[in-house]
Each structure stands twice: as structure tokens, then as C-alpha cells.
């Protein structure tokens, strides 16, 4: 026999697993990681990826705009507008619209599809609990939103710190801004995560969910504008749901200002920052109550 014999595996058969099973924490971390990747468009359709890329580019544009403007403001000194000398509040104000659209894209994609295809019997037959599934989804959505709020804001702060003549002096003078920046970023990400999850848990259609997430916020803003004009009462501002976390942010940065239109058409003093915070927390709590009720009913 001269030819060398080669081994060919025709049937690998079934191999029992004799290794170690890892804990629930590991399983959930992996689950959140997977969901985060899917939220960012990995292994999703090109339309979804395109939408994500456009939103991230918009955010990047806002980031560079505020970085550039604040550098120009530094150049002109104390005479420059306050919003440019302290760019963080302005950055969040402009980013809020990107966050809203991002939450309207990501949350329905992660929640509605699982409900439409009734996937959770497969998940819940694993060693996790009902609320683990929801935490994983929330963690992924929050992760994406925090990434586009806190990430650039922190980068902006670091950039400003290192571009300043004396970095340590800048840091010590703007420590309060850093605290406000972290708290505002977290609140904004939490607010839009909760809001988008609450709406998405009510429908299996991604389109309806996205429409409702955007539509209710815009409708609240419109209603707020009309009623403010008609009633001229400050409490009406609480109807503008999308504005609630932004007014808290203004309070944190010390830039809470009255609503006024040119020519003395309208001037309304703002409510206390606590009122806005209570409103934002109420929206977050209500959203989570809706999520819990929707899933509790469906998973039983």
C-alpha cells in the first residue's frame, strides 16, 4: 500500500458538553452585548445601518460645531454668548433631537420584533428571569443613547480642558460643569430609553412605535406652545414632555431661563427645576409601569 490514507469525518455526531456552565451575570452581560451590537446595526438591514450612520454623523457634526464655536468664544473672551463659553448645555440641547430619533429607531427594533415573532418563550426557557430580559433590552438601548450623549460631551470637556492654557485650572473651574454634564447626560439617556421602551412595549409594529415615540413628543411641544400662548401659565410647560429633561439640564448648568418671544409677545418665568425633575421622573416611572404591565401580561 503506497497511498497515504486520509481520515474523513462524515458524521460528527452529538458530543455531550462536559465543561463548566457560567453564571447568570455572564449570560446577561453577553445578552446585553449582543443587543448593543444589534442596536448599532451590526447584522441588521442596510436601511437600519444607514439610519444609524446618519444619526451618528449628525451627532458628530453637533459635537464639532460646539467645539469650534466654544474655541471661537474663548478667543473673543467674556463678550461671547454664555451658551458658547459653556458649550455643554448647548450641546445637549442640540443633541436632544438626535437622541429622540435614535431612541425611535433603536427601541422598536429591539422590542417590537421579539414581540412580533413571539421570541421570548425561547429566552425565558433559559436560566434567566422575565426582568432580566427587560434589563438586557434597557441596558442595550441606554448604552447606545448614553454613548451618543455622554461620549461626545465628555470628549468635548476633555478637549476643552486640554486646549485650555492651564488644564488643571480649567478643570478646577469647571468641576461643577462636569457634574452637571454627567447628570444631564445620564438623565437624558434614561428619559429617552424609558419613553421609547414604554411606547414600544405597546405595539408589535416598529413603524407605529417609532411614529408614536416621535409624534407624542412633537405633539406635546405643539400643545405646550399653543396653551402657553393662550393661558400664559407656567405649569403648561410640564406638558412638553421632551422639554422636561432639558429644563432639568438647564437647572443643573445654571442656565434655566424664562420663555420669551421677541417684542414682549410672551414672557413666562420658568418653574422650579424640581418641578421639571418631578415631571421627568414621572414620565420615566409611567413608562416603566407600561413596560412591566405589557410584558407581565404577555409572558404569562
Amino acid at each position: 500500500m503506497s497511498a497515504k490514507s486520509k481520515g474523513v469525518i462524515y458524521d460528527r455526531g452529538y458530543r455531550p458538553y462536559e465543561g463548566r456552565y457560567l453564571g447568570r451575570g455572564y449570560a446577561l452581560a453577553g445578552f446585553i452585548g449582543d443587543e448593543l451590537k444589534r442596536a448599532l446595526g451590526i447584522k441588521r438591514s442596510w436601511k437600519y445601518r444607514l439610519a444609524i450612520i446618519l444619526l451618528l454623523i449628525s451627532e458628530l457634526f453637533i459635537f464639532f460645531f460646539y467645539l469650534l464655536m466654544s474655541q471661537l468664544a474663548d478667543f473673543f473672551g467674556a463678550g461671547a454668548p454664555q451658551t458658547l463659553l459653556n458649550p455643554y448645555s448647548g450641546f445637549y440641547e442640540a443633541s436632544a433631537i438626535v437622541l429622540l430619533f435614535l431612541s425611535a429607531l433603536v427601541a422598536p427594533a429591539l422590542l417590537c420584533d421579539d414581540r412580533r415573532y413571539r421570541v421570548y418563550p425561547l429566552y425565558l426557557a433559559r436560566p434567566i428571569r422575565v426582568y432580566d430580559y427587560l434589563w438586557a433590552k434597557a441596558g442595550a438601548i441606554f448604552g447606545v443613547l448614553a454613548l451618543v450623549t455622554l461620549g461626545p460631551a465628555l470628549l468635548l470637556f476633555l478637549g476643552k480642558t486640554f486646549l485650555a492654557g492651564d488644564a488643571l485650572e480649567y478643570l478646577s473651574r469647571h468641576l461643577r460643569d462636569l457634574g452637571a454634564l454627567l447628570a444631564s447626560g445620564l438623565l437624558l439617556a434614561l428619559f429617552y430609553t424609558s419613553w421609547a421602551m414604554g411606547i414600544s412595549s405597546l405595539t408589535v409594529s416598529r413603524g407605529y412605535a417609532a411614529g408614536a415615540i416621535l409624534g407624542l413628543i412633537f405633539l406635546g411641544g405643539l400643545l405646550n406652545g399653543l396653551l402657553l400662548f393662550a393661558l400664559r401659565e407656567p405649569w403648561v410647560m410640564l406638558l412638553d414632555l421632551g422639554d422636561l429633561p432639558l429644563r432639568v439640564k438647564d437647572g443643573l448648568f445654571g442656565t434655566l431661563s424664562p420663555i420669551e418671544l421677541p417684542g414682549d409677545l410672551l414672557r413666562i418665568e420658568p418653574l422650579s427645576v424640581w418641578a421639571y425633575l418631578a415631571g421627568a421622573l414621572a414620565v420615566i416611572a409611567l413608562s416603566w409601569a407600561i413596560v412591566w404591565m405589557s410584558y407581565h401580561r404577555e409572558m404569562r
Binding site: G13, G30, K43
Partner: protein
Amino acid sequence: MASAISTENLSKRYNGLPALEGISLEIPEGSVGLLGENGAGKTTFMKLLLGLLSPTSGSARVLGFDVASQGLELRRRVGYMPEDDCLPADQSAFDLVVRLGRLSGLPKEVALQRAHDVLHLVGLGEERYRPIGGYSVGMKQRVKLAQALVHDPKLVLLDEPTSGLDPQGRGEMLDLIGDVHKKMGISMLLSSHLLRDVERVCEYVVILRAGQVVTQGKLSELLGGLSEGLLVRVVGDQEAFVQGLRAEGLKVEAVGTRLLVKADSDVVYDVILQQAVQTGVQLRYLERESRSLEELFWDLHRQP
């Protein structure tokens, strides 16, 4: 035989309506069929065993774990193949099975390897990277089976695994399911309303009707217990053979090309052999008459 599932007075009601009532069972390891018509309570029973539903009363243990308090531990060791279409259309079978394997506690590299293996095993080697939305019903059933096996469970609960399949697909799926216990050594509880599916792959059967256990036991005993005699086929002088048996006091009647010999004891075997020798016929077939599971099912169904 060790007990894989044991329940005691297990009941479940939905808004006051009973789905399961007072189920007390000891189900052994091996391949077990859970048989019943639609609405008999099979899916509810499986969900109770997984700890996905809370019982209204009673208790259950699966692989020694209490379903109410040790749900996480038992779900690590149990695989579940749901009846419903529950697969995400936009994901590939491979991604889904890896993800579910990791959720069961497999390290990432192991989950990747085992996902390849089990998908190959269920016959989805080439198609595993395609989105599930483009799969046929049979392929989807295979994905559901693969995800139930990926973490190497000790027990799999298969809820109507042949549902929606054409005859060929059904046969292939039953072959796969048959291997789960025979070749992989994994115990299984197969729920079905299709009697032939259960008959083909199960050794033990539990029959449910309207949320209650009608009967349970080894399939061979349940079917054999109803036998009325031995079926015999001979080549040669059949008339002489029959007369010889009757002369020994046995009741014999023709059933098609075979003879049905009424048997009330094992001595009948000796008498048949003795008469075959004496009359010079060739004994070509000798087996205890058994009724099909379908006959058993309908007999039980007719009982009040």
C-alpha cells in the same frame, strides 16, 4: 428507572377555568410521549415544568429540581422546543443558537462550536447563516430543535415538534427526535396529538384528557396489556395445524392470512411449537397481538 419528572396534585387554572387538574405523575427518564387532543393541557403542563407558569396548586420536580423555587437551575439542564412559530425572521439560525447557548451559560467559544455542531446535526449545515425568515416550516422546526439541544440538556421538552410538517418532513423530524434519546442519551418529553408520532419514538406514554391524566405507563405494557392472543402465520398444512391446536383446547380464528390464537398463559407458546412440529408446518410469524396506540386512545376516550 430514575424519575425525570414528578408532580403532585399539580393544577393550573386560567381565570377560574381549569387547564390542568390534580396531576400526580412519576415520569421516568427516557423517551416519554405526552398525548392528548388539542386543549388537553399539554402545553400548560410543559410550561409548568419549565417554571414559566406558576401552578394554582400542587408541586412539580424536574430532574430533582423544584419548579417553583429552582427554576433557573432546572432551565440550565432542560431544553424546550415550543410549538408556536417563535423564531426571529431577521436573524440567522447560527446567531440565534449561539445567543441562546450563551444565555444557558455556555462560554462564547463553546457556544459557537456547539451551534455549528447541532445545526449540522439537525441538517442545517449549509443554511445556518441565512436569515430564518427565508426558511421553510421544516427548517424552522429544525432550528427550534437545535436551540433546545445546544446547551447539552439532560431533558428536552418537545411541544408538537411535527406540527405543520408534510409527511416527508414529519418522518425526518421523527428520525431526529428518535435519535435524541437513542444516540444522544437525552431524556425527552414529546407532546403530541398525533398518536403515530408518539408510538414511533416513545417508550413511555402519558395520556391527558381535559386537563387530567387518563392513563400512563410503558407503551409496550399499555398496548400489550390489551392483547387478546398470539398472531401466527404458518406455511404448510394450516388446516391440520389449526385442528391440532383446537384439540389442545385453544381457540383459534383466522385473521387475514394469519391465525389468532387466544392465549391466557405462556404455555400456549409451547403448544404452538409442538403442533408445528407434529403437523410439519413452517412457523413464519409468531407475535403477541398488540393494539395500536390509536385503538388504546379511543378506547380510553370512550370511557366516561
